[in-house]
């Protein structure tokens, strides 16, 4: 999957299996990623678990769990808010599109989460105050939390190498057609329909179409960017671009 970290790093990762995204004093988020195409290192999210921890007079501990084709508009215990404490309504679940989009508002920690199912896979986006992000319980064990530090180096997929191969046609099968139905040009054209700016959301869309052939990933990238527009606090940073060999951002084409 593609990851935009709290510090606006953009990475494409393997991270097959269960991985933690966030873990701090107030909540934990974990995802499970499964291969999209057998034999490929590209995976996508099929399960997501969020645990909101018990907090003062506000909320009981609540767990939210979603899986492919099961995006509930309630916590695991069937409730839609933070329990029966005085501030219980400062944690609530709102169903935006049945089976497709859920928002979780945790006002007691200034946090908003958007969970979507796009095609067969889940997407996750969060807006969280820095203070909450940094309220870690054990600084020594924070390396693996993807939203905070990104993916470990051995889990990253190099966008540029993958793209260069696609452009050169290394991915073609014996018949000369691309293995999953999209040529590089066709993937570019398809992604352009939804993502006119050639930023990393556009690039990730192209990557996904080439690696999976699943056109739904166009919408995953599109909605991920819609979530950025809703949740990111700095309009100037909505779009992010590929860094060049010297580490600075490439100019938008």
């Amino acid at each position: 999957p593609h990851l935009r970290t709290f510090s606006d790093d953009f990475q494409t990762c393997k991270v097959e299996g269960a991985w933690p995204l966030i873990h701090n004093k107030y909540l934990s988020v974990q995802v499970t990623n499964t291969p999209v195409v057998p034999g490929s290192s590209a995976t996508a999210t099929s399960k997501l678990t969020i645990i909101f921890k018990n907090f003062q007079e506000c909320v009981d501990q609540k767990m939210y769990h979603a899986e492919t084709d099961e995006l509930p508009a309630a916590f695991a215990d069937g409730s839609k808010n933070g329990g029966d404490r005085h501030g219980a309504n400062t944690l609530r679940i709102v169903e935006k599109v049945p089976g497709q989009q859920v928002e979780i508002h945790a006002r007691y920690i200034g946090t908003t989460i958007v969970v979507r199912q796009v095609g067969r896979y889940l997407t996750f986006a969060v807006r969280m105050p820095e203070e909450v992000v940094n309220s870690v319980e054990d600084r020594d064990n924070q390396d693996l939390y993807l939203c905070l530090h990104g993916c470990p180096a051995n889990q990253r997929i190099d966008f540029r190498t993958f793209r260069a191969r696609a452009v050169e046609g290394h991915g073609l099968s014996r018949t000369g057609s691309p293995p999953h139905g999209f040529t590089y040009k066709a993937a570019m054209a398809k992604c352009k329909e939804r993502l006119p700016v050639e930023d990393l959301y556009f690039q990730s869309c192209v990557f996904d179409l080439l690696s999976s052939g699943d056109v739904n990933f166009t919408m995953a990238a599109y909605y991920a960017f819609e979530d950025v527009k809703m949740l990111h606090s700095n309009k100037d940073k909505y779009h992010i671009y590929e860094k060049d060999a010297f580490g600075s951002n490439a100019a938008p084409r």
Binding site: P1, H2, L3, R4, T5, F6, D8, L21, I22, K25, V36, A42, T43, A44, T45, Q56, E57, C58, V59, D60, G83, D84, H86, G87, N89, T90, R107, Y108, I109, G110, V118, Y121, T123, F124, A125, V126, R127, M128, P129, E130, E131, V132, V133, S135, C147, S204, C205, F207, D208, S211, D214, F217, A220, A221, A224, D227, V228, L231, H232, S233
Partner: protein
Amino acid sequence: CKILKCNSEFWASTSSSGPEEEFCTALRAYNNCVRRTARTCRGDLAYHSAQHGIEDLMSQNNCSKEGPTTQPRARTPAPPPQLQPDSQERSDGPEQCHYERSLHRQSSPPNYTHCGFFGD
């Protein structure tokens, strides 16, 4: 199992003697607190003692099970610096349950960050 926290909150809220209604109110809050621990405290002696103790105290003091509850404040854990509780409560919950509202008196507004995870 956090039954001891319920016990200490109850004793803190009843440490000063007050009218009987206040005791019933605190007792109901205690009962709610104990009920919330039911899953994690199953089989815990202190939990089962508390359950029976509450029933006894309720009947001894003629407290009804339905009615207002208080949330004892004296011994709740200290919040992080910018989440300081406020004694003023609003209809939709105590001030400390509203992150932004509790920051109004802070000098600088909070910085928000974003994380996204999508695609393949």
